[in-house]
Symmetry: C7
Subunit: 76 residues, 7 copies
């Protein structure tokens, strides 16, 4: 990923991010770790695909090749 | 990407681009960063898949392998 | 791509090409740039998937791995 | 995977993890082995896609490229 | 591709081949060029997916990773 | 694959394994050979996708990139 | 592929094999050539997806990455 993307991931550590996955699912959780392939570790994660019925997942490891996009928390 | 594509991305920095993603979704936002794999950072991004119900996403990092095409703003 | 394919792309520069994409969509536009991965830049592009309702896209950058086939303009 | 992800996998050895796979299926089992591609060996695994009708699978080897996300057991 | 496959492609140059593509579509045309990735150039190509409604495509460049199988013309 | 996974494959040679494939199909057969990509050779294989209508396949070679998971026989 | 798989392909040369492809289609033909990526050349091939309506294809070149599994002829 670009240095800019890496910096945004850095600044998002310990903050809640929204991750949209291939196949239409979304998870949200506190970003605990990432690498250059966008493999992510999220804590207190929830499956928020269906916003009327979110599901608690606890800590999760997301394989980067499933990630479509990541929304860091608003920060400016 | 070709030098020409890179130049168009360069010229689009800080301008609003439309990004069409695999699976039929589209997002629009101000281009803040890109790399040679088309990993993108967009600011003030919106999901515009359904133009009757756009959704604000804030800053997003898009994983390049999901990108189908990018429309920079008209500039000529 | 083969030298022959590259030559056809060369000869198609500044001419209108039709690009069929994975997932069934088609775009048409003036070829402005290409590289060996079939990353393409098209100008005055249109989404022509539905020929009854084409959509103007302006300049677009197409990520090569979405390309199924490209039809250059008739030239012989 | 990042060192952090590897550490979480290490700590999950011999504990029950939930693995979500591409295509919507989920399996759960005791983590017996993993490698850097997320190839996993689970013992006493069950297919838990349909929580009303789980299926016992015994020991399974999961090919890493099918993994979407892994939930280790709660540990804090 | 194997030397045998390459030889068959060689012998098919300037002859009409049928190409079946991922996603169920088929095109037919005179083979003008190929490379080791099965990137193909076909002339006087037609989309023959629907044999009741073939569509003329003219010269086309087919990206090899979409090719499922190629039928050269009968030759023995 | 990890040494542990390789060892499990070793121990499963000449025993009946269940292989779940991408796209939802399953085959079962006696494991005759494997390699590090999970390319498999199964003997006396059956398509067991529909357990009410299994189909005999004889010896089969399975291309590893289609494998989702492999269940060796119970052995402890 | 493993040496064992290669040997089975060797022994199947000039014999009729069944090839199941991604997306659910099946073709059958006399194996004329193969390489280590499972690119195959089949002669007198037929599309046998629908066993009530097989279609003759003649000689075909199958791109290996579409192959799910190959059944050589019974030989023991």
């Amino acid at each position: 990923m670009s240095d800019v993307a890496a910096k945004i991931f850095e600044e998002s550590l310990n903050k809640v991010v929204l991750v949209q996955l291939k196949g239409g699912r979304s998870v949200r959780g506190r970003l605990y770790s990432f690498d250059q392939h966008m493999n992510l570790v999220l804590e207190e994660a929830e499956d928020v695909t269906n916003t009327d019925a979110t599901k608690k997942l606890g800590t999760i490891i997301v394989r980067g090749d499933n990630v479509v996009l990541v929304s860091p928390p608003p920060k400016r």
